[in-house]
């Protein structure tokens, strides 16, 4: 197991390098002369454009730019925002990151609480009315936009009934109860779609696994149904579901950005959205890089759990 984990970690190095390259390559996406566009487009004065060019070293060849940016990023220096504030991008991310992460983790919790039981119920009774209604619910769950669900929750629980606060955020260290109240609606809004996806995947995996020869063997040996489903089937069905959980995490991370906007939560989402209109390149690159790296590590955890669940994977 130890060498298995080590191999997986080592395999990340080239992947992370490629990711940094793609992140830096975002500069190539900017149409026309990046310096002019970033300095404000046609309205920008030649001096401003030149200043922008020098500031971002856009006059250098792209590989030099990348190298400079990479070596700085490795030291935790992601530059300064082009516009406004003296706070560096790294600081900006550091203060907002915990907020976004807690939102994503909370939403994942909601997703699992909804998805796992729903998936098991419909998976072991495929074709029954329980299955059909759950499946319809999950179809709806993935079709409803999470930000719309968020707004509807606000309407129902905050505007109409005043059960929960509509917007706002307090840090968990200041007011744990208030934090919890603030987090309930956003996490719910985000988690429903994830839960629906997990349920559908788990259902499919369970139906697949329950159809396998080794389940028939377990039945033929007279094992109890609870054991067959809860241990023999579930451990095998967990592998494909884990993939989806990993992917869902990425979606949740992305989803938080709009949700934060709706609930006025000061996370990474509000940070990057504030940078969109001005095309504030360092902020955009910084946030994209950090979220990608988080996602890579989430997937590492998923990979390692594969090894735990499947002895064959471990051996390879």
């Amino acid at each position: 197991m130890g060498s298995f984990i080590l191999r997986r970690v080592l395999a990340l190095i080239p992947l992370l390098l490629l990711i940094t390259f793609i992140v830096y390559a975002l500069v190539l996406v900017i149409p026309g002369d990046p310096a002019r566009t970033l300095a404000g487009g046609t309205k920008a004065t030649p001096q401003a454009v030149q200043a922008m060019r020098l500031r971002l070293h856009l006059n250098e060849p792209i590989y030099q730019q990348y190298w400079r940016w990479l070596t700085q990023a490795l030291q935790g220096n992601l530059g300064k925002p082009l516009f406004g504030g003296s706070q560096t991008v790294a600081e900006g991310i550091r203060t907002r990151f915990p907020v976004t992460l807690s939102l994503a983790v909370g939403a994942m919790f909601v997703a699992l609480v909804i998805g796992v039981p729903a998936g098991i119920i419909s998976g072991i009774r495929a074709g029954s009315w329980q299955d059909r209604s759950t499946t319809f619910g999950t179809s709806l769950g993935i079709a409803v936009p999470d930000f719309w669900l968020a707004m509807m929750l606000v309407v129902v629980f905050a505007v109409k009934t005043h059960l929960l606060p509509a917007t706002g955020y307090v840090s968990i260290t200041k007011d744990p109860l208030g934090w919890l109240q603030d987090m309930i609606l956003p996490c719910l809004a985000l988690g429903v779609a994830g839960g629906a996806s997990i349920a559908r995947q788990l259902r499919g995996a369970l139906i697949d696994v329950l159809d396998q020869d080794y389940i028939r063997t377990a039945r033929s040996m007279g094992l109890k149904n609870r054991k067959i489903i809860g241990v023999y089937a579930l451990k095998n069905a967990a592998t494909p579901v884990l993939t989806v959980i990993g992917l869902q995490f990425a979606y949740l991370l992305g989803g938080t950005f709009i949700i934060e906007q709706i609930f006025s939560i000061p996370g990474l989402g509000s940070y990057i959205l504030g940078a969109i209109d001005t095309k504030d390149l360092p902020v955009i690159q910084g946030v994209v890089l950090v979220t990608a790296v988080i996602f890579v590590f989430v997937n590492l955890v998923v990979d390692i759990s594969y090894g735990y669940l499947s002895p064959k994977v471990r051996a390879q």
Binding site: P14, L15, L18, I19, F21, I22, L26, V29, I30, P31, A126, G127, D131, T135, S139, L140, I142, A143, V144, P145, F147, W148, M151, M152, V154, V155, V159, A166, S197, R200, Q201, R203, G204, A205, I207, P240, T243, V244, L247, Q248, A250, Y251, G254, G255, F257, I258, I262, L273, A275, I276, D277, K279, L281, I284, Q285, V287, V288, T291, A292, F295
Partner: protein, 307 residues
């Protein structure tokens, strides 16, 4: 979702297949595929809905009761006989804006999927069919692209490209590419293992012939399922980005944009949130139901659900 269909479970087929160690439904011919698709009621209804929606979008000018930007004196009203779905914060007819917004949403999702496929199909075919180092390099790049949370990458690209419907579609399409590539490559790898590919090679078929005559037709059907799903997800993503103001610019109507407008009045007049939200949800649901119907028709769990 793979609900076992009564007719497929004849033990004779299963026993025969069991003895050969194969799934008889694994590869299907075209005719039975559509016959079975038409038996899934929900999928057929969904297909009907999408067809009607497309027609409405194409002929919006004749279908919609009013021009989308015509301003009436009553604003933020609920449904009435003059305005079936009410009016928005400026006093525009919501139903008309929904119908014109369908244009944007559908155009975006078809644009997204087409762009993604144009890029992904050759990459997936090359990676899966030729294997070796080409496969290795292409798939490592796809892995790296897959490592970005999709919405965030799309957001970054769309904002740097500049606000327009096409740029937004390009941004979302980029995010869709690695998923399509993985699916296509996986299917090609599976088909490459089939004996009929070897058989074809043994009678001298060239690589181009093999891909054209044998690989593509067999990749097509699982790909159609993924396309249907992607149309739905594309529409969702487009709505999200327009909600943030990245898609078509006001005053042009789009479902996401309408939600963004209505959001400003969430504490006073929440009605405006309902029509665009329901429109998005029902359309995405329809695409998903079509995908489910196609998947069922294709046979059991041919491939895993990947969002």
């Amino acid at each position: 979702m793979p609900i076992p269909q009564g007719g497929l479970n004849l033990p004779i087929g299963e026993e025969e297949a069991h003895e050969l160690g194969r799934d008889p439904e694994k590869l299907e011919s075209g005719g039975r595929f559509w016959a079975r698709f038409l038996k899934t009621r929900s999928a057929v209804i969904a297909l009907g809905f999408i067809t009607v929606l497309i027609l409405c979008a194409v002929f919006a000018r004749w279908v919609a009761p009013y021009p989308p930007n015509k301003i009436f004196p009553q604003f933020n009203t609920g449904p009435s006989s003059a305005h079936w779905l009410g009016t928005d914060s400026v006093g525009r007819d919501i139903l008309s804006r929904i119908i014109f917004g369908a244009r944007v949403s559908l155009q975006a999702s078809f644009q997204i999927v087409t762009l993604a496929l144009i890029v992904a199909l050759p990459i997936g075919l090359i990676a899966g069919y030729s294997g070796g180092w080409k496969d290795g390099v292409l798939m490592r790049i796809m892995d790296a692209m897959f490592a970005f949370p999709p919405l965030i990458l799309a957001l970054a690209v769309a904002s740097l490209l500049g606000k327009s419907l096409f740029n937004e579609s390009v941004a979302i399409a980029i995010v869709f590419v690695p998923g399509f590539v993985r699916l296509i490559r996986g299917q090609v790898l599976a088909i490459r293992e089939e004996t009929f590919i070897e058989a074809s090679r043994s009678v001298g078929a060239s690589d181009t012939r093999m891909i054209r005559k044998h690989v593509l037709p067999n990749v097509a059907s699982p790909l159609i399922v993924q396309v249907a799903l992607a149309l739905g997800y594309g529409l969702l993503a487009e709505a999200g980005l327009s909600f943030l103001g990245l898609g078509v610019q006001p005053p042009q109507a789009s479902w996401g944009g309408m939600l963004s407008d209505a959001y400003n009045y969430i504490f006073s007049d929440a009605w405006g949130l309902i029509p665009p939200g329901v429109a998005i949800a029902v359309t995405v649901l329809s695409f998903n139901l079509i995908a489910d119907g196609l998947r069922d028709a294709l046979g059991r769990e041919r491939f895993r659900e990947e969002k």
